[in-house]
Symmetry: C2
Subunit: 407 residues, 2 copies
């Protein structure tokens, strides 16, 4: 008998039938003799509906009141799920974030979990009750309700699995697991049996969107065994762990795309030390995250510095730079938001030089132009024109994963 934490996302609890389906998954696990703690997101569109209600009244509502409002979404889905489990005749209790002991800092809308007081959850498990916990939320030191921001429910589940020393944390979603590429867009995409935390983190960051980075990072830190699987298919999913079997011998684990990217080019800066520091410390102070950075070789005393930010930050980044034009001394700032980032990820890449070159070759053969390149130990990313994104992913995926691909 073990302790299993199961997390169900918004689509998994979207209506009464799906809630009953989730209740079946939970009770089947329970019937096999396990203790079960289930962490639920809000139903399907609830959060969007609540945001729309708030926007109608005050488009600039405080984050504190937004959290007060939004946290009701999970409370609704959790109590409904508990009722479905009651109807099946099992002992069950639903708990809000504060009831389940989630204490966070005070960053409303994007709070971090500071600790979890597990007394209540443990007491319920001792009584052999199934425990349903609201994801995405907690309370701060003032006892005010906070929400954890994007990927919050995954993080709630992993954090709970960590403090409860759960044997497994299952993240149920609407796909069968982690694929070598997005199966909705890429022909031949394969389900991965296993993946390492590091690979998963790169894939999450790179836009695979199956599991939020923050939760994987936490799983790695506390060594929580993760499994990503479908709440609909009933099939085994993808295990995420520290070390994976090398049986598959995949150097590249997956191909991901990210269209939420803009490239800025600071053209004609003086070719002297300290200029990159000035640019990027300026952006960092304003909380603008910079991803890929490329600096041209100096020519005629000037050089160009290009970098990528997420689309929403691109105009502000341009304005910040232009405000400091005199200090930084450049010619102009170009913004291109019609681009996308395509990446390959694999822990095996570090020991296998030439993997990135294969990616470039695949793109070359397809006539797709590469704007920028960035590589690290376990990934290689290229910027391509937005219009070419899906084709780029497909040809790269074919190169590594098709029957005739080399991986």
């Amino acid at each position: 008998m073990g302790l299993i934490v199961q997390k169900f996302g918004g689509t998994s609890v979207a209506d009464a039938d799906r809630i009953r389906n989730v209740a079946r998954i939970i009770t089947e696990t329970y019937r096999r003799g396990h203790n079960v703690v289930a962490v639920l997101s809000a139903q399907g569109d609830t959060t969007d509906d609540l945001i729309a209600k708030a926007a109608e009244i005050n488009p600039n509502a405080s984050k504190r009141e937004m959290d007060m409002l939004l946290s009701t979404g999970e409370q609704i889905s959790c109590s409904l799920c508990a009722m479905a489990i009651e109807a099946m005749g099992y002992p069950v209790v639903s708990l809000t974030g504060w009831q389940a002991g989630f204490r966070t800092n005070s960053a409303y809308g994007d709070a971090r979990i500071k600790r979890i007081n597990t007394e209540r959850v443990m007491a319920e498990l001792d009584k052999r009750a199934i425990v349903i916990v609201t994801g995405f939320q907690g309370v701060n030191k003032y006892d005010d309700i906070t929400t954890l921001g994007r990927g919050g429910s995954d993080t709630s589940a992993v954090a709970l699995a960590a403090v409860l020393h759960a044997d497994l944390c299952q993240i149920f979603t609407d796909v069968d697991g982690v694929y070598t590429a997005d199966p909705r867009n890429v022909a031949g995409a394969r389900l991965l049996e296993e993946i390492t935390y590091d690979e998963m983190m790169e894939l999450a960051t790179l836009g695979a969107q199956v599991l939020h980075n923050r939760s994987v990072e936490m799983a790695k830190r506390y060594n929580v065994n993760l499994e990503v699987l479908s709440s609909f298919s009933g099939k085994p999913g993808t295990k995420v762990k520290e070390v994976v079997k090398t049986m598959e011998k995949l150097h590249v684990r997956g191909v991901a795309k990210d269209k939420n990217v803009a490239r800025l080019a600071v053209v004609g800066v003086a070719d002297q030390p300290g200029i990159a520091f000035k640019i990027f410390s300026l952006l960092a102070r304003e909380n603008i995250n910079v991803d890929i950075i490329l600096q041209s070789i100096g020519r005629g005393g000037t050089k160009d510095i290009s970098f990528t930010v997420c689309k929403a930050d691109s105009q502000r980044a341009k304005e910040l730079l232009e405000e400091q034009k005199n200090v930084l001394g450049f010619e102009r700032v170009d913004v291109n938001d019609q681009i996308a980032k395509v990446s390959i990820v694999g822990a095996g890449m570090i020991h296998n030089p030439g993997v990135a070159a294969k990616m470039f070759e695949a793109l070359y053969n397809a006539g797709i132009n590469i704007n920028m390149i960035a590589t690290s130990e376990i990934k290689a990313s290229v910027l391509v024109d937005a219009a070419e994104t899906d084709r780029a992913v497909q040809v790269i995926h074919d190169r590594f994963f098709s029957e005739f691909g080399e991986n």
Copy 2:
């Protein structure tokens, strides 16, 4: 500068415009220099929608989970109202039942307030913040969410006014105050400037539905100054207090009807002591509330005992009695649920014999038959045929309140 508790019901916060209207009422009170604590119900149909969601999943859901679910309704309306007040530029904070310190017993769905820890509310008021509190809810000793049942939000407001020693507790609703009869049905119904707690309690019980009995009882016990008024008209409403000015010299304060009544007649019981005790202790054990009781004079060794219960209990009451037919020894039980109770209420009645007689006279003149009569110090009730209800209320009201009426 005083402290005013304002309560707004579900229709008052039904949509964005109405929430803005409530925000205006609150902030105008605040601008006049008062501290304001506002207690809100859930928006219009929210509670019914949530009940429907639950019924789809589990028609027999536990009350604990129902409370977990339903308590989100007020959390939504309160955070939205706080956002509306923020948009107007005033300091404001919304608090759930547990954040506002409402501790209740564990009777889920119908909990009683045991105490209110006012620290948080007081701290916010000290900062001159407007405090918005969810009505209808609290937490029990296990920190589980409870709801207060019917009239719960009124009770929350009055209880908060009591512990905070508020100068006034205003109950905002969709009518202008307490009328001499339901103005939607009775021509010439007049708004009362003042009414005593006792009169209000009789009217609440008798179906006037403008203020729940439980809250009036609490207001009387803690001597909370109440005012019932409209959130739409902006006019002064009705003050509810211990003693009212006698200026108006109204012996009768109002006429109320209650159609949720059924009459049972236990026909042909033995005319011997103890039979009434046996019947009514049997019903009391099963939590069936009996209202009016009438016992005929014995004739030929037997008598009849008639009494009223609410419609929902009538069949069960009949069955309970019939199960004990051998013990009780009666001929048969008749049930009539095509009846209604019409009552006049007024603290002045006790000193003015003949008031009830005027009511009977008015009914006689209109040719309306009286089924049963019951009187107390401050009220007189009659049972009439359900079809005659509205006409009965009108002729009685005319008798006491029309230009030519005697009151």
